[in-house]
């Protein structure tokens, strides 16, 4: 694991700062929307990557989240609903020397774009995906989404939803994801840290951002993000560290049989040594999946980088095949091709 972002992307000869990435467009998200904090974290992390600013590209689909490219001064495409992953794939395959970032939401990527979402992950194309999960359709004004908790009353579920929601982490790991992280919009420091880790990862990186929609799903994540209770209901995972959490740092996660369990340090003879130690690089996704699935009230929700496994990327393999073919192929130009095989002269 390198400590540097992707070395095939050209580096900036001058030091950049946040202002280099501020666009001249007015930011039109509602006051108090969690997206503002995400934008600020992105503007903080881009200069730290060290890339030339011209080599960063943002792609999005449709929804509140997807206005993102207009607000960051990079190259960018605001695409169509659900298709950001497909557009990003084309961008990265065509030009692997770009650092590609995708802004999307729970409607854009879990519903209409679900197909592209699982396939970009399966292919492991080197793209950083910011998945804004506010558990609601905001831009169309308050219909339930594939991540809305079951039973929620929304404009299209006046008696409560009767659908089982997706847990994005489960979907990512089910699609053979190599990188999955989760953050909350109220913790910009962790957000910036995780975004940097995502950039360093070669392959598709998904960052699920638990985001608050002040208008249509206010406090939807409150049970785990509220200041009063969050320390007891969140665990920030750090590679190589035992899984400790709680206001008094006295709780932990251990493996009992084939399942995870919350324990209290000091009770029943339990010490830190009994706790699971987080291994983000573990190839086997078994523990990562259990961590991604942890939910209130039985468990704290897992934040930070949950999985960062090393697998070849699609974009690297494309380049390898092309350079092999160029070196070994007999057909060097289109004239060679036109004259290959059976041809004959007519006089």
């Amino acid at each position: 694991m390198s400590t540097q972002p992707n070395m095939t992307i050209e580096r900036s000869s001058v030091e950049l700062n946040k202002e280099d990435f501020v666009s001249d467009q007015m930011v039109k998200w509602c006051p108090g929307c969690g997206a503002h904090a995400i934008l600020s974290s992105v503007a903080n992390v881009f200069p730290k990557l060290g890339y030339r600013k011209e080599n960063i590209m943002m792609v999005s689909g449709i929804g509140c989240s997807s206005r993102f490219p207009y607000y960051v001064n990079t190259y960018g495409i605001h695409g169509i609903h659900g298709r950001a992953a497909a557009i990003s794939s084309g961008v990265k395959i065509a030009n692997p020397h770009l650092s590609v970032w995708m802004a999307t939401g729970d409607g854009d990527s879990m519903a209409i774009g679900g197909n592209h979402f699982i396939h970009i992950i399966r292919r492991n194309i080197d793209i950083n995906i910011l998945l804004f999960n506010n558990q609601i359709y905001g831009l169309t004004k308050g219909q339930y989404s594939p991540t809305t908790p079951m039973g929620s009353v929304t404009k299209t579920s006046p008696q409560g939803t009767i659908e089982h929601p997706f847990n994005p982490g489960e979907l990512v790991l089910g699609a053979q994801g190599t990188f999955f992280a989760r953050v909350v919009d109220t913790n910009p420091r962790l957000m910036t840290e995780v975004m940097f880790e995502a950039a360093k990862h070669d392959g598709t990186s998904i960052i699920e951002i638990l985001q608050n929609c002040v208008i249509f799903a206010d406090k939807t994540h409150d049970a785990v993000t509220n200041k009063e209770v969050r320390d007891d209901r969140q665990i920030v995972l750090r590679n190589g560290h035992p899984m400790v959490f709680g206001k008094n740092r006295d709780k932990g996660i251990r493996l009992k049989g084939t399942r995870l369990e919350v324990v209290t340090i000091g009770e029943n003879g339990i010490t830190e040594d009994d706790l699971l130690v987080h291994d983000v690089y573990q190839q086997d996704p078994g523990i990562h999946l259990m961590l991604a699935k942890m939910a209130y009230p039985h468990f704290p929700i897992a934040l930070g980088v949950i999985r960062s496994a090393n697998y070849p990327t699609y974009d690297d393999l494309v380049e390898e095949q092309i350079s092999y073919a160029k070196e070994n192929g007999k057909i060097k130009n289109v004239d060679d091709l036109l004259n290959s095989g059976e041809t004959w002269e007519i006089k």
Binding site: Y75, H78, A85, G90, K92, N333
Partner: protein, 591 residues
């Protein structure tokens, strides 16, 4: 059967003949054996004159079982030689094909030169010494029929042997078996009296030059590779397999040594969207599909229109609507290509008209897309795509220039939607270039600056600009040609894949001294500038197309003041020359 047809036509080409082929096969990979619907056919037209079509009626019909006889007898000309595998005419197979009695024995084929060859028996007997399994032996039956054909046309085995040696390199026994059976078929024909009238086809009068045989789908793929090389833009194809367009995807996937990047997407939408992403980064971006796939791509074509990015969308048309007739040909997606999108959404529409000129029109579609910063829909069809034709090999350096309007680094005047005053094309600013960072997307754009805009006056202006940009392409395409006099009693009009049949029909009636001329359209949107001038020289206009009248209605919308008549066929099959001459003569007689 498809392989046998290909071997026959390649050998014909080597004998110096012009040719056109048309494989006609069922949608199923293993279609029910011995049924009429499951018949796999391959039609070849060879000749000493220029071949425009695969022919209406055949002089030789090979039927390997009762079902294929039943399905194809209607194409045999009176007195044609019909070669059948008599071993396959067993009671069950005869019934399954829908015959009540054996057609070989009831006298119904009395007007043909019927050759009853015991193909199965003789194939098995000739291969007995090799000790192959029964399945492998029966697979070689088609080669027996091919051997009979080679005798009929007095051709040698050289090309076919070379093919066997290459194709089955690692299976010497298969090579040996195929050669033995081919020769057995030839010897059989040599000995039976029924085949004494050998067809002698002399060499065709073809323009001198270097030639090859090519299918429309391969020609399309190669046209794109040539355009990528000439423009210096890397090729990117995002595509999802669909009949009958898949061969373009397969062909381009072979050419990584030319730098072609081919992405087999998870669906049609991802195919076009990945191409749009690649286009933004500066690739010659392509997506290939057939009718239903084009429907799925509609929204994304709108994105390419709004973002004014170059993109070529190939639609190898098939019978529709819905899944329709996947392996049959039709021209019924013209409306979809012209109008099938939300909003006012103009895109260029071009149609190839022969298997060989798919190369040229794929090249021109790429040139127009990149130089005018617009999506281009290239229409071919199953008949052109699967069919093959002699192709005079061009030199890439002699093809027209392609000069995409790429923005220079730090261009102080660069604005995302600032246009070239002549073409109205905006500049192509590629990620990675210093000083050109910009964002584009599907929301309406502010004129010049490209920022998101909901201003009413701006929206109307941009709508008009997008349309005008496409219409001005008429200044960069050739004038519409007319074959025959510029004035007369009747102008026959057609477009796309029907060129060969319509041209042959017109030439036939012209020979009879009738004042009939012919205009075949390749550039559909925009139409050539002189279209109205061409149409006004004639008393009557007859528009022939393989749909219910889509091009004629488009002409009525755009070229008014003319009286149009139409001749239409929607059967999943190409036109025959005789039905067209019938329609032309009928139109001439009408008041």
């Amino acid at each position: 059967m498809q392989l046998t047809g290909t071997l026959f036509s390649d050998t014909a080409a080597l004998a110096g003949l012009d040719l056109a082929t048309f494989p006609d096969y069922p949608a199923e990979i293993r279609a029910p054996h011995n049924t009429v619907a499951g018949v796999s056919g391959f039609q070849v037209h060879v000749g000493a004159k220029k071949i425009e079509t695969t022919g209406d009626q055949c002089d030789v019909l090979v039927a390997m079982n009762p079902a294929s006889l039943k399905a194809n007898l209607k194409w045999a000309s009176p007195g044609a030689t019909i070669i059948v595998d008599m071993d396959a005419f067993e009671e069950i197979a005869i019934k399954k094909a829908g015959y009540s009695v054996n057609p070989l024995e009831d006298g119904s084929l009395a007007n043909y030169n019927l050759v009853k060859a015991p193909i199965t028996t003789l194939t098995r007997a000739s291969l007995k010494p090799l000790g192959l399994d029964a399945k492998s032996v029966d697979k070689s039956k088609n080669m027996f029929a091919l051997g009979i054909m080679y005798h009929l046309f007095s051709w040698n085995f050289d090309a076919t042997y070379a093919f066997f040696d290459k194709k089955f390199k690692s299976k010497p026994q298969v090579i040996q078996a195929n050669k033995i059976v081919l020769e057995a078929g030839y010897s059989f024909a040599d000995t039976v009296e029924a085949l004494q009238s050998v067809y002698q086809v002399s060499k065709a009068a073809i323009k001198p030059g270097r030639y090859r045989n090519i299918t429309g789908n391969v020609a399309t793929a190669w046209g794109f590779l040539a355009a990528a090389e000439r423009s210096g833009r890397p090729l990117f194809l995002g595509s999802y397999p669909i009949t009958p367009a898949t061969e373009i995807l397969i062909e381009l996937a072979k050419h990584k040594s030319l730098g072609a990047k081919v992405f087999q997407a998870e669906d049609e939408i991802a195919g076009i969207c990945s191409a749009i992403g690649a286009s933004y980064t500066g690739s010659l971006a392509l997506t290939t599909t057939s009718g239903p796939g084009l429907s799925l791509k509609s929204e994304a074509i709108g994105l390419a229109v709004m973002t004014e990015l170059p993109l070529v969308i190939v639609n190898v048309q098939r019978g529709g609507p819905s899944t329709g007739l996947p392996t049959k040909t039709e021209q019924s997606d013209l409306y979809q290509a012209l109008f099938g999108r939300n909003g006012e959404c103009p895109a260029v529409v071009i149609a190839a008209s022969s298997s060989a000129n798919c190369f040229y029109y794929a090249y021109m579609a790429s040139k127009i897309a990149m130089e005018h910063m617009t999506p281009v829909i290239l229409l071919t069809d199953g008949y052109l795509g699967n069919g093959s034709q002699l192709f005079q090999i061009p030199k890439v350096a002699e093809l027209p220039d392609i000069k995409p309007p790429i923005a220079e680094p730090n261009d102080p005047d660069y604005k995302p939607y600032k246009r070239n005053p002549e073409t109205l094309a905006r500049k192509w600013a590629l990620p990675g270039t210093e000083g050109l960072r910009h964002r584009i997307g599907g929301l309406e754009k502010e004129d010049v600056y490209g920022n998101v805009s909901t201003d009413p006056i701006n929206h109307q202006k941009m709508t008009e600009l997008r349309n005008e940009k496409v219409m001005r392409i008429a200044n960069y395409i050739p004038d519409q040609e007319v074959i025959g006099d510029k004035e007369g009693d009747l102008l026959v009009v057609s477009w796309g894949g029907t060129l060969g049949a319509v041209q042959e029909a017109v030439e036939e009636v012209q020979k009879e001294g009738k004042k009939v001329s012919f205009a075949h359209f390749n550039y559909i949107m925009p139409l050539p500038k002189n279209t109205s001038d061409v149409l006004k020289g004639f008393k009557k206009i007859l528009v022939c197309e393989l749909n219910s009248g889509q091009f004629v209605n488009y002409l009525k919308m755009t070229q008014y003041g003319h009286v149009y008549r139409q001749y239409n066929k929607v059967q999943g099959l190409p036109f025959t020359v005789s039905e067209l001459t019938g329609a032309i003569n009928k139109t001439l007689e009408e008041k």
